[in-house]
């Protein structure tokens, strides 16, 4: 069954892809130049005369107010004919006549988005979402509107919720939505999550220079949008993003060669070795550790590198090596959630269970949904014999991992 959502997605996809949709800096609407003419054009004169002649008939017609059915049908026809201003006007009339009409709000919002009227579009979509709470595409589209309005936290929240509800199921929509989500995550300093979204895009084949640059930004941990890049750094970001995308696509030998060239060219650039180590973590943890160690020779005070090195040792069960790096991570940046997590986990694993608890709770305070923190807490409570607390944390972990357990599930 075709829903308004799915019908519109095609339209918004076309609007996005025919413009420079992949780059927010280029998505600004270029106003149409108005041509002013002197005098009255002949066609308008004829129209005016015709209206004067028909005035009595029109007056009779205006006595009967248009019905909702008439206006909604006219709106649909105008939309089908591509007359967007008229369609928008008619949809506005229609939803005033029937504010409970979800399709009307949807088309109004989506058409307004298509004409770069982002604030009204977001408003219309809000009405639609109120009437249709789990509409993933509408949430995602409102997220794109908010992105254009500069409401970044709201935009990220809507995009993520929309994507979780299936808005990115179509590959072309996925490219647009994941890219914007990755940009917002980068801007928010959530670089690893951004790299995760870029990985999805690369696996879907959505790779171009904008995406490569975005990967470079997230990889070098620069919390800015592409349009804010210093021109002197643009080439470096492309050169860094490219081998990272090779790792993401699975071309590990090619990526290795490219990264070596980048290391040679930018030997003192922070976060380069960290990026390579991070990307290798799941496929080659040993090489990953070597890259983190290399990063520490370039950036000895990098808290995130100490934290990831601690994490990598921990995943190998080497908690003795894990602990000093975890301590160093927290010492360098006590506000880094990852540092709190690795230190808490290392303390739990090396015997100081009670001492590790506050660090794990600190991690959860900044990221309540963090699976690893809940896993470590479950283990800590279990070791302490706090069976009920451990059980609660385990249920939370199962829910977070999609394992299927609800909070009241029988275990």
């Amino acid at each position: 069954m075709t829903t308004p959502d799915s019908r519109f997605l095609t339209e918004f996809r076309i609007a996005e892809t025919t413009g420079s949709a992949m780059h927010p800096a280029r998505r600004r609407h270029t106003p149409t130049r108005r041509v002013r003419r002197k005098g009255f054009p002949p066609i308008l004169t004829i129209l005016l005369l015709t209206m004067l002649l028909l005035e009595p008939a029109l007056a009779i017609a205006q006595d009967t107010p248009p019905t909702f059915d008439d206006v909604s049908a006219a709106a649909s026809a105008a939309r089908a004919q591509g007359d967007l201003p008229r369609a928008i006007d008619l949809y506005q009339q229609a939803v005033q006549l029937n504010p409970q009409w979800p399709d009307g709000w949807w088309y109004l919002g989506s058409l307004q988005y298509g004409t770069n009227a982002y604030a009204p579009a977001a408003g219309a979509l809000t009405h639609y979402i109120d009437l249709t709470p789990h509409a993933g595409p509408a949430l995602a589209l409102r997220g794109l509107c908010e992105f254009e309005e500069g409401k970044y936290p709201e935009s990220l929240q809507d995009l993520q919720q929309g994507i979780s509800l299936g808005a990115a199921n179509q590959p072309k929509n996925a490219g647009i939505l994941l890219y914007h989500e990755a940009l917002l995550l980068t801007k928010a300093g959530r670089f690893e999550e951004a790299l995760g979204q870029y990985t999805l895009m690369v696996k879907h084949g959505s790779v171009n220079d904008d995406v490569i640059t975005g990967i470079g930004l997230a990889g070098l941990r620069m919390p800015i949008f592409p349009q804010e890049i210093d021109p002197s750094q643009a080439e470096m970001l492309l050169l860094v993003g490219r081998p990272a995308s090779q790792v993401m696509s699975g071309d590990l030998p090619g990526a290795h060669r490219s990264f070596l060239a980048v290391f040679d060219r930018f030997p003192t650039t922070p976060n380069l070795h960290y990026l390579y180590g991070y990307l290798l973590f799941t496929t080659d943890p040993d090489q990953s550790i070597a890259q983190f160690q290399e990063e520490l020779t370039v950036s000895p005070t990098s808290a995130i590198t100490h934290a990831m090195l601690a994490w990598a040792y921990g995943m190998r069960g080497e908690y003795v090596a894990d602990l000093p790096n975890a301590q160093k991570a927290v010492q360098e940046d006590p506000s880094l959630p990852m540092g709190q997590l690795v230190l808490g986990r290392a303390m739990v694993e090396t015997g100081d269970v009670t001492g590790g608890l506050p660090h794990l709770l600190a991690m959860l305070a900044s990221d309540p949904q963090n699976l690893e923190a809940h896993l470590a807490l479950a283990k800590a409570y279990s070791k302490l014999g706090r069976a009920e607390d451990a059980r609660r944390e385990r249920l939370e972990c199962l829910a977070l991992s999609g394992q299927g357990a609800a909070p009241n599930a029988t275990m």
Binding site: L375, K379, A387, R394, S401, G402
Partner: protein, 359 residues
């Protein structure tokens, strides 16, 4: 006093080794006159006599020493366009696959598993996990667990799943001893199956120290670990709770991950030794199949006497139905999907009729 007794006992065991001085301390301990080489078994006789016969002890077998392959000298299996054949002759086993035009015949290098067996073969320097395995319940070959979705397009694909280095480290790390050295796979040092030093880290150093008369170098005692720690220790191979959750392994196929299932049990308490893996299982002995053996383990918590003795804390409930054969109801047997075997579900619970498998 105890230390003196231990020393005396050890000296008796190792007297000849001392006499042989440096030779006795070498890596490959020379045989002692009339007693054989000094090994863990020299002191830990009971464990050493039974452990090699356990499933863990036989977790990997070499083709020439593989009774299942010897007992089934020729096995065949057809899947789509490919025909598989495993032929054992003169202590050598060949794994062959043909599409009628091309045939690949590769020697079986290692057999993983004490009951069902999956083989590791090598082709052009790449290790493969065989696409078909031997199942005792079928008395023959069938698809390897987890490979049913593979759709080979070439004869090379049809061999099986290529093993990455990480995959190989996982396989060999759990099915053999000393296969991982400095985090790298080292097939030269590998010993098939699990021997003492697989679990008892530092066992060889301990042995060498004892030979020298140094009794201070004991391996860490595993018996002293908490239930939570034991669960994680065994879970390194049997899959710990957090490993399964992190991987998102759902459904009845996770029934084989006993530490995960056990930790899901309402009665699991990581600080209570009565619910640890080794409370029920002695890893040096074969798994006991008699359900009555486990009754005492359950009743260590779920007994009326304990219920009466613990008025201040919620005691473990006693079963209104029976006081024996507890596991037959509370730890049901779950068929492993596509695996042609059945596992005991370690998620201890009250099983309701028609309830879905609890993840």
């Amino acid at each position: 006093m105890q230390r003196c007794k231990a020393l005396f006992f050890f000296l008796l065991c190792c007297a000849a080794a001392f006499a042989q001085s440096a030779a006795a301390q070498s890596r490959s301990t020379p045989p002692l006159p009339g007693k054989g080489p000094v090994t863990c078994a020299s002191c830990h006789r009971s464990q050493a006599s039974t452990q090699p016969g356990t499933q863990m002890g036989r977790a990997m077998q070499l083709p020439g020493d593989n009774p299942d392959l010897v007992a089934h000298p020729k096995m065949t299996y057809q899947r789509g366009a490919y025909t598989y054949e495993v032929v054992t002759r003169n202590g050598q086993s060949q794994y062959s696959v043909t599409d009628g035009t091309h045939t690949l015949s590769l020697p079986i290098l290692w057999a993983m598993g004490a009951q069902a067996q999956t083989w590791v073969v090598e082709h052009n320097g790449q290790m493969y996990e065989s696409l078909v395995s031997y199942y005792p319940t079928l008395n023959g070959l069938y698809l390897t667990v987890g490979d049913d979705t593979l759709a080979p397009k070439t004869i090379e694909d049809a061999i099986g799943r290529p093993l990455s280095e990480e995959d190989a480290k996982t396989c060999f790390g759990c099915h053999s001893t000393n296969a991982i050295v400095d985090h790298k796979l080292d097939l030269a040092t590998l010993k098939p199956g699990l021997t003492c030093e697989h679990c008892h880290t530092g066992a060889m150093e301990h042995l060498k120290s004892e030979i020298k008369g140094d009794h201070s170098n004991d391996p860490p005692s595993l018996a002293d670990l908490s239930s939570e720690d034991i669960s994680n220790f065994c879970g390194r191979c049997h899959r710990s709770w957090e490993l399964v959750v992190r991987a998102g392994w759902k459904g009845p196929s996770n029934v084989r991950f006993q530490p995960y299932r056990l930790a899901n049990s309402k009665c699991f308490n990581g600080a209570d030794p009565r619910i640890s893996c080794i409370a029920c299982h002695d890893p040096h002995e074969k798994v006991v199949r008699d359900v009555t053996y486990y009754d005492s383990k359950c009743l260590a918590c779920h007994s009326p006497a304990l219920e009466a003795a613990a008025p201040t804390s919620p005691p473990a409930k006693t079963c209104p139905v029976a006081k024996s054969n507890c596991t037959s109801c509370h730890m049901p047997k779950v068929p492993f999907p596509g695996g042609h075997f059945v596992f005991t579900d370690h998620q201890i619970r009250i099983v309701r009729p028609n309830e879905p498998y609890p993840n």
